[in-house]
Symmetry: C2
Subunit: 149 residues, 2 copies
DNA sequence: GTGAATGCAAAACCTTTGCAACTGG
DNA sequence: CCAGTTGCAAAGGTTTTGCATTCAC
């Protein structure tokens, strides 16, 4: 079930939207609420279905709009895997993703700074990158999320 | 321009196809030739355009078919980035990809074994992965491919 | 009040599928 | 010969776009 945003979460949403010159709408609140109440990397359609539970009139295009806005504001990250529908992740800390090939589920994997640094070090001179995406693909012997998540 | 396969390349193609119980067709030769004569990670459509130069009658669906077959045989790898069209890479050595946000071009980045191992080590118990995808996203101050490629 | 956001539908885009005709081993 | 491959066209699923209406500030 989807909860309303608590005060702190609402503050964070409003602050990020204001910084980007964006408005706080009920739809954006609902979508953001969906994302943080269950951090299971939902697809657009999954967000749509869940958001409709609390806001039946919302349209799919609006979900796309909201998510695009959040990405632009740095509130959430997109997770793409192969050609499957884009998933959305509110975890802003550096991390990798693990995709269970049996279930399709995506888990966050903690990424220690030293591993991130060793990755950065493989770039030859002249190649500058701020964004690194790391995704594992395999099978998990547990359906539990990894320890830290 | 697209060259014909040399003897060694043709052998390799035939061997891999045979191993997978697949036939060697002129279309597959043409597509494979496109991939190895310019290793710039072409999209399906780019492969299609280039292959048509030597084989005007070839259809887009056949390009999809050929590439799918090659992936299944382990001859090439798919490279997906965001929601852009899938690209194809004949470099089978472990490596990362760098996508230049200005040009859209994708470069191979060498991935030393120790970096690969340190990455593997971040998986918690119960998570087993054979496939790791690493992609950098940023700007290159050169249009030259990285040193090793 | 006003520019931005929403909702709806249609379009765009890449990819897959169905099927008849053909062909490689 | 014949299972597998091709070519064509149509369908599929996700995402984007156009535009009139509504709304947040």
């Amino acid at each position: 079930m989807i909860q309303n945003l608590n005060e702190h979460e609402r503050e964070k949403l409003m602050a990020s939207l204001n910084k980007g010159g964006q408005k706080l709408t009920p739809q954006r609140e609902a979508v953001f609420s969906v994302l943080i109440s269950k951090r299971d990397h939902p697809t657009v359609d999954e967000v749509f279905q869940r958001a409709r539970e609390t806001m039946p009139g919302m349209s799919l295009a609006t979900v796309y709009n909201c998510l695009e806005t959040f990405v632009a504001c740095g509130l959430v990250r997109q997770v793409n895997h192969e050609r499957e529908p884009t998933r959305y992740c509110p975890n802003l800390a550096p991390h990798a993703h693990f995709r269970d090939q049996a279930t399709g589920r995506v888990h966050d994997i903690e990424l220690p700074p030293e591993v991130l640094n060793s990755l950065r070090s493989i770039l030859p001179p002249g190649f500058n990158s701020e964004v690194i995406e790391i995704s594992f693909h395999g099978q998990a012997s547990t359906t539990e999320p990894p320890p830290h998540a």
